[in-house]
Symmetry: C2
Subunit: 199 residues, 2 copies
């Protein structure tokens, strides 16, 4: 892009840093921004900063939220005795799409991965233990991805929780092994939830 205007090159580089966007797509997106109205470009830029500055972690489940508690944790109609443990906030969106799960969540914000130096104290495991020790939790569903790291994390947490007398279950392997929770279709995800097994 030697002869391309510098601000366009810089914008394309920003797009190329996003997951799943290569350099050609990034250039295409940068050119698209040039066709936006001034107002639309301002709205786009503002929405990035707004999302980044106004959204924090729910005090209970660590999902992203604008308030102290996320809408799920502050919803009295949900079953607060069942906790579904997920890797990332995007996985909650996937479960909510099934419209079948009525419990609450806990977001780990990562998976154990000794190869990458991710140890238990670097993800939200102690916050999960604190929730369970505070009582009234009947079941913990481990809903991490069926990958090496996801399985290891589920096993590790399961071993920590069993001495506390809480029932720990795992999503059924309706999910294709090596797959990603976020991209599972709704029916598969619902089956996986329905056929969950005690660990």
């Amino acid at each position: 892009m030697d002869n391309t205007a510098l601000p366009l090159v810089l914008l394309a580089e920003q797009f190329a840093k996003l997951p799943g966007i290569g350099m050609k797509s990034a250039q295409r997106l940068a050119y698209h921004v040039m066709t936006m109205s001034d107002e639309d470009a301002q709205t786009f830029a503002d929405s990035i900063l707004n999302a980044h500055s106004k959204v924090t972690y729910c005090e209970v489940c660590k999902n992203f939220t604008e308030n102290e508690l996320c809408p799920i944790c502050s919803d009295e109609d949900r079953d607060h005795s069942t906790i579904c443990v997920v890797e990332a906030p995007r996985d909650i969106t996937a479960f909510e799409r099934t419209r079948e799960y009525k419990g609450v969540y806990h977001v780990l914000h990562g998976l154990l991965s000794p190869m990458d130096g991710i140890t238990p104290d670097m993800i939200r495991i102690k916050e999960l233990l604190a929730r369970i020790q505070s009582g009234e939790i009947g079941e913990v569903i481990m809903a991490t991805n069926p990958t090496v790291e996801g399985e290891a994390t589920a096993m590790y947490i399961s071993k920590l929780l069993k001495p506390l007398g809480v029932k720990v279950t795992r999503l059924a392997f309706g999910l294709p092994v090596g797959g990603i929770v976020e991209y599972a279709d709704t029916v598969t995800l619902f089956k996986a939830l329905e056929n969950r097994n005690e660990m």
Copy 2:
């Protein structure tokens, strides 16, 4: 995304407006923004506004540029008597990648499309005529996409230019018919340039 924080939903909606990005990818990108540092998010937002506010049209060829003239039009080593007419600035990037074309460009910023109500006065045709009437143009290469609109636009412009005594050529159909200039590989594009035919 009923239970997702509103600023995240709004950001995902912004991403979903970009070409080639569906709602699931848009959500993924929005979640990715949350993992950026404050500084990175600021840089991303700034680069959108910078590209939008600092980049304007080259006075001669109508490509995007930060200055009055784009780097190609202000380059004395280029052959200013040969004009390659393209639909959009992104097509220039594709030709420059071949490193074989030494002439200059003219960006139409659109193609004729009576179905969509795009008439000759809505794209940069009269600016092209003005350049040719100002003299010293030996050849005009029509490099619009080999689609219905691209062909029609090339034919229309060719008929306008011939009475002016200028040689008008068309990219060779090395390009797959129905394809897009922007995504053509470098060799195909070079062949198409090399085998261009007089119209």
